[in-house]
C-alpha cells in the first residue's frame, strides 16, 4: 500500500501549505484556481516556469528532479524520497521547514477520509485510534481549505476522528463546506452519536439530510455491555437517543458492531434488537477487530479466534439481511468464515487494510478477500487461515 507521507526538497517560498497537484493540461483547464495549484511536470517536459508564474500558479512539482533549475521562476517541489506517493489530482500539504510532504486527498483511492479531531468522549476498549485531549482546531481550518480542492466527481468522502460532534458548530460548518464544494459527494461520518441525544445538536446538522450517512457504533442490546465496551456509563442510552433523534429528522444511519470477546455474548440478541428497535437503519456493518491502538493493550480481554465466532456471525448477519436490512461483514478473512457468510463479506473499507500473509500466497479467494493484519504476529492470527485451491473456490 502507498504511504501518505514522504520527504521533498522545496526551493523557493511557497505562498500556502495546501496545494492541488495537477498535470499541465488539467491545470490549464482552470477548474482549480491557479494560485492553489502545483503543476506536476514529468522529467523531460520542458516548460517555461515564467509563463506558469504569469498565469498565477503556486508552484511546480518535479518529483524526481534533484533541485531547482537556474531559470525557474516559481517555487519547486522536488527530490521526493518516494516519488510514487504523489500523483496528479492529489491534494498535498507541504511543510516548508521540515520538507515533509503529506497527501491529504488521493485521487482514485478506494476511500478518502478527513480526520476531524483527536478528541473523544468515549474510550473504547478496542479503539484503533486512541483519543488525545489536545487542541486540534487547526485541523478544521485546514480541512476547510482542503475541501474545495477535492475532485468534484468523488462519490464518497468519510469523516473520522475522534468524535466529530465535539467540534460543536464547526461540524455543521464542515458539512456545509462539503455541500458547497462537492454537491454530488456522499458523506460518511463516524460518530458515537452520544451528543445527538441533545436535540439542539441533532438540529444543527440538518443540512446533512440527503447527502450523509451517520455511521454509529452500537455494541450490545443492553446498556451495561455497551457502556463497558466504550468505557462510559450512560453511553448506550445517549447513543440510542441520538440515533432516534437523527432518524426522526430524516437522516440515514449505519450501525457498526465490532466483534470481539466482550461483544460476542450479545451479538445474536443485538441483531434482533436492531430489527425490533431500529428497522429504519440503512446498513449494519459487522467488523473484525483491528490489532491497533487500545486493542493491543486489551488483547486478552478482546481476542476470540474469528474461526470460533464465524457460525454465530453468519446467523447474526443473515438475521438482518433476510429481514431486508442491508448487512455487511468487514475485516474478517474468507477462510475463517463459514461459506454461508461469504455473500455478505465485503473486501475492505480502505486500501491500506488489504494486507496478505505469506499463507495467502496462491489462495484463489484472494481477489474477493479482505486479507488480515499479518504483521501483528501469532497473537492475532486465526488458526483458520488457509489458502483455497482453485477447485475449492470454483465449487
Amino acid at each position: 500500500m502507498l504511504p501518505l507521507h514522504t520527504r521533498a526538497v522545496i526551493s523557493g517560498a511557497l505562498s500556502r501549505p495546501l496545494l492541488k497537484v495537477l498535470d499541465l493540461a488539467e491545470a490549464l483547464r482552470g477548474d482549480v484556481p491557479h494560485e492553489q495549484v502545483a503543476v506536476h511536470l514529468d522529467d523531460g517536459i520542458d516548460v517555461d516556469t515564467g509563463v506558469l508564474r504569469d498565469l498565477g500558479f503556486a508552484a511546480v512539482m518535479r518529483p524526481s528532479a534533484t533541485g531547482m533549475r537556474p531559470d525557474d521562476a516559481l517555487p519547486v517541489i522536488c527530490g521526493l524520497s518516494n516519488i510514487d506517493v504523489v500523483n496528479p489530482g492529489d491534494v498535498i500539504r507541504v511543510r516548508h521547514d521540515s520538507g515533509q510532504l503529506s497527501v491529504l486527498y488521493r485521487r482514485g483511492a478506494n476511500a478518502n477520509s478527513l480526520f476531524l479531531t483527536e478528541q473523544c468522549n468515549s474510550r473504547c476498549l478496542m479503539c484503533s485510534q486512541p483519543p488525545r485531549d489536545e487542541d486540534d482546531l487547526w485541523r478544521v481550518r485546514e480541512l476547510l481549505e482542503l475541501i474545495p480542492l477535492i475532485d468534484r466527481d468523488l462519490p464518497q468522502l468519510g469523516f473520522t476522528g475522534g468524535e466529530p460532534t465535539l467540534l460543536g458548530p464547526l461540524l455543521p460548518e464542515l458539512i456545509r463546506a462539503c455541500k458547497a464544494a462537492l454537491p454530488r459527494t456522499g458523506l460518511h461520518i463516524l460518530t458515537n452519536g452520544r451528543n445527538f441525544a441533545d436535540t439542539a445538536m441533532a438540529d444543527s446538522v440538518h443540512e446533512a439530510v440527503g447527502c450523509t450517512t451517520w455511521a454509529i457504533p452500537l455494541y450490545a442490546d443492553v446498556p451495561s455491555r455497551h457502556d463497558h465496551v466504550v468505557q462510559a456509563a450512560g453511553a448506550f442510552d445517549a447513543t440510542d437517543n441520538g440515533i432516534y433523534n437523527l432518524a426522526e429528522r430524516g437522516h440515514a444511519i449505519e450501525i457498526r458492531f465490532v466483534v470481539h470477546a466482550q461483544t460476542l455474548p450479545r451479538m445474536q440478541r443485538f441483531a434482533e434488537f436492531i430489527w425490533r428497535n431500529m428497522p429504519f437503519v440503512s446498513h449494519v456493518a459487522f467488523m473484525g477487530l483491528e490489532p491497533m491502538g487500545f486493542a493491543k493493550v486489551n488483547r486478552d480481554l478482546l481476542w476470540v479466534d474469528p474461526v470460533d465466532y464465524g457460525p454465530a456471525l453468519a446467523d447474526a448477519v443473515w438475521h438482518l439481511q433476510d429481514r431486508g436490512i442491508t448487512t455487511s461483514i468487514y475485516n474478517v478473512p474468507l477462510c475463517v468464515l463459514p461459506e454461508a457468510a461469504w455473500p455478505l463479506a465485503r473486501q475492505s473499507i480502505s486500501d491500506w487494510k488489504n494486507i496478505y500473509d505469506p499463507a495467502c500466497e496462491g489462495c484463489s479467494m484472494r481477489p474477493r478477500c479482505c486479507g488480515f493484519f499479518a504483521s501483528h504476529g501469532p497473537a492475532w492470527r486465526s488458526r483458520g487461515i488457509r489458502a483455497f485451491r482453485f477447485e475449492e473456490a470454483a465449487e
Binding site: 442490546d221 457502556d227 442510552d237 440510542d240 432516534y244 428497535n277 453468519a314 443473515w318 454461508a340 455473500p343
Partner: protein
C-alpha cells in the same frame, strides 16, 4: 496519557443490586413446551424463560449478572435506573405496531350486487336470482359511496368489489372505477383495486378492463374437484372445472401474481388437509388461506349439516401446517396465509394490512362497506348481520358524512367493545399483542359484542393457533424458522442451508 488509565471492568457498569422495574408483561405456559414460561410484552416481543428465572423476574430478584436479565432488558421487559430511553423505544414500537390507525378506513368494500349464479351450502347472503335488478347497487348510490370514500384521510385506499357475484354487475364496477380514476386525478391517493369473484363471467372485455386497472383478484377454491363441487353446487355443476378455466384466463391476461384463492372449509374438508394443500400446489398458488366457516348468514342455519367447532378445526390446521412445513422443507414454496399474518404480528415490529385481526378492531376503523342498497356498514360481517336481522352495525347511509358515520351508534359500540386490551380475558392474555378484537363475530355467535372468552370461538381458535405457533417457535427448528421468516418478510430467505448445521 489516556492510554495509561485503567479500563473499568464490566461489573462496574451493572447495577450492584437488582433494582429493576418490570414493564407490563403477560405470560402463558404452552402445552408441549416443558419447563418454560412464555412472556410477551405490550409491544409484542417475547421470551421463553425457565420457571426459576421467571419466578425470580416476577418477584424482582433476578440477578443483573444473569443472561436472563440481559435478555429481558434487551427486549424491554425490565428497565433499570432512568427509564426514559427504553420507554422512548417502547413508545416508538407501540406507535409502529398501531400505525394502521393513522389514516382511518383504507379498505372500502363496494357490494355491487347480491345476485349470484351459485347456491353454495355455506353462503352467507347471496340471492340466486340472476335477473333481479333490485339487488344491484344504483349509479346514484355508487357515486355517493365514492364521495364518502374520498372523505377518509387515508393516503392509500383499497377498493374491493364484492357480491353476490360482483361480475354480474360489471357495468357498475366499470362506472365506479372510472369515476374514482377521474376524481383521483386531483386527489392523488394510491389506489388498489381488488375483487372476489368466481371468475366464471370473466370474458375478454372484462379481463382487459381488470388488467388495465391492475386488479388483485381472489377466487374461491375449496380443494380438489370432488370437494369443491360438493361445497359449491350450481345449476349444471362443474364449478371446479369452470373455476380452473377462469384461473387460467385471468393468469393469461393479468399475470400469475394477480390472482389468489380462498378456501372455505366445510366439515368434509376437515378430513383432507393434505389434498387441499396439494391442489393449491398443483395449480401453482404460492399461498393457501385455510378459513374456517364463518358464523354468518345461511352458514349459521346450515351449521348442523356442514359446520363444526373450533376443537375440530384446530387439529385440521395443525395437520395442514405440519404438511405445509414439510413441503417447504423439501423445497416446495407454499404458505398458509393466515399463519403469515399471525407470524408477522409475532416476529416483526410492523402491522399488516390485514384488517380482520386488529386491536382496535378493523371494523369501521380499518374498513367500511357500502351495501348495494345504500347502507354503510363497519364490515362485511356487519352487513351480513343485518341480513340476519341485526342492524346494530349499520353506521348509516351513503348520504351521511364521514364524520357522521364515525360518530354513529354503531361505531360507538365497536369502539367500546373492539379494543382487546380492555376486554375481559384478553386484557391479561399472553397472546394479546398478536391477536385482535372481533366484536362483530361475537355478536353473530353470542349476541353480544364483548363475548365470553372461555367459550368464545374466536378465542378458542386463536388460543389454539398461537399455542401451535409458539410451540414451533420454542423448538426453533432452523428449516421451520427459515420458512416462517420468508412468510413474514414476503421474500425468499437467502441464508444458505448448510450453515445451520454449523
Amino acid at each position: 496519557m489516556a492510554g495509561r488509565l485503567p479500563f473499568a471492568p464490566l461489573a462496574d457498569f451493572r447495577p450492584k443490586e437488582p433494582g429493576y422495574q418490570p414493564m407490563p408483561f403477560r405470560f402463558a405456559r404452552i402445552p408441549g413446551v416443558d419447563g418454560k414460561v412464555l412472556v410477551t410484552s405490550e409491544v409484542g416481543e417475547f421470551e421463553f424463560l425457565d420457571e426459576t428465572d421467571f419466578r425470580a423476574f416476577a418477584s424482582g430478584t433476578l440477578s443483573p449478572a444473569t443472561d436472563a436479565y440481559a435478555d429481558l432488558q434487551g427486549k424491554h421487559f425490565l428497565v433499570e435506573g432512568d427509564p426514559s430511553t427504553p420507554l422512548r423505544m417502547v413508545t416508538a414500537k407501540y406507535r409502529t405496531r398501531k400505525s394502521f390507525l393513522k389514516g382511518g378506513p383504507a379498505l372500502h368494500v363496494f357490494v355491487v350486487t347480491l345476485r349470484c349464479d351459485h347456491s353454495c351450502r355455506y353462503c352467507q347472503v347471496s340471492r340466486q336470482t340472476a335477473d333481479q335488478a333490485r339487488f344491484d347497487m344504483s349509479a346514484e348510490t355508487a357515486a355517493a359511496a365514492i364521495d364518502l370514500m374520498f372523505q377518509t384521510p387515508s393516503p392509500s385506499l383499497t377498493v374491493e368489489f364484492q357480491g353476490g357475484e360482483p361480475l354480474l354487475a360489471f357495468p357498475r364496477i366499470r362506472q365506479i372505477v372510472e369515476a374514482i380514476e377521474e376524481r383521483n386525478r386531483v386527489d392523488g391517493r394510491a389506489i388498489t383495486y381488488s375483487m372476489t369473484s368466481t371468475l366464471h363471467q370473466a370474458d375478454g372485455e372484462v379481463l382487459e378492463f381488470l388488467r388495465r386497472h391492475d386488479f388483485q383478484l381472489s377466487t374461491s377454491l375449496d380443494g380438489p374437484e370432488t370437494l369443491h363441487d360438493a361445497n359449491r353446487p350450481r345449476p349444471g355443476r362443474a364449478s371446479h372445472r369452470r373455476t380452473l378455466e377462469g384461473i387460467g384466463r385471468v393468469r393469461a391476461a393479468l399475470g400469475e401474481r394477480s390472482l389468489s384463492a380462498l378456501t372455505t372449509l366445510t366439515r368434509e374438508s376437515l378430513k383432507h388437509p393434505e389434498a387441499i394443500v396439494d391442489e393449491y400446489v398443483r395449480l401453482g398458488f404460492p399461498s393457501v388461506f385455510l378459513r374456517p366457516l364463518s358464523p354468518f348468514g345461511f352458514a349459521a342455519k346450515a351449521a348442523q349439516r356442514i359446520g363444526y367447532g373450533m376443537e375440530e378445526f384446530l387439529p385440521f390446521y395443525a395437520r395442514a401446517l405440519a404438511y405445509i412445513l414439510e413441503l417447504n422443507r423439501k423445497g416446495v414454496a407454499i404458505q398458509e396465509a393466515y399463519t403469515g399474518f399471525l407470524l408477522s404480528h409475532i416476529l416483526t415490529p410492523f402491522p399488516t394490512g390485514y384488517v380482520d385481526l386488529r386491536s382496535p378492531t378493523g371494523a369501521g376503523l380499518g374498513a367500511r362497506v357500502y351495501n348495494y342498497d345504500g347502507g354503510v356498514y363497519a364490515s362485511d360481517e356487519g352487513r351480513m348481520l343485518a341480513e340476519m336481522g341485526d342492524h346494530s352495525l349499520r353506521l348509516g347511509t351513503v348520504h351521511d358524512s364521514h364524520a357522521d358515520l364515525m360518530q354513529s351508534e354503531g361505531m360507538q359500540l365497536l369502539l367500546a367493545t373492539g379494543v382487546a386490551e380492555a376486554l375481559p380475558g384478553c386484557s391479561d392474555c399472553a397472546f394479546l399483542p398478536y391477536c385482535g378484537a372481533d366484536p362483530v363475530f361475537n355478536m353473530a355467535r353470542e349476541g353480544d359484542p364483548v363475548g365470553h372468552r372461555p367459550t368464545n370461538a374466536h378465542c378458542v381458535k386463536h388460543t389454539g393457533l398461537f399455542r401451535i405457533l409458539f410451540r414451533y417457535l420454542a423448538e426453533a427448528d432452523p428449516h421451520v424458522m427459515r420458512t416462517f421468516t420468508s412468510w413474514v418478510t414476503q421474500r425468499p430467505v437467502q441464508r444458505l442451508p448448510d450453515a445451520e448445521a454449523a
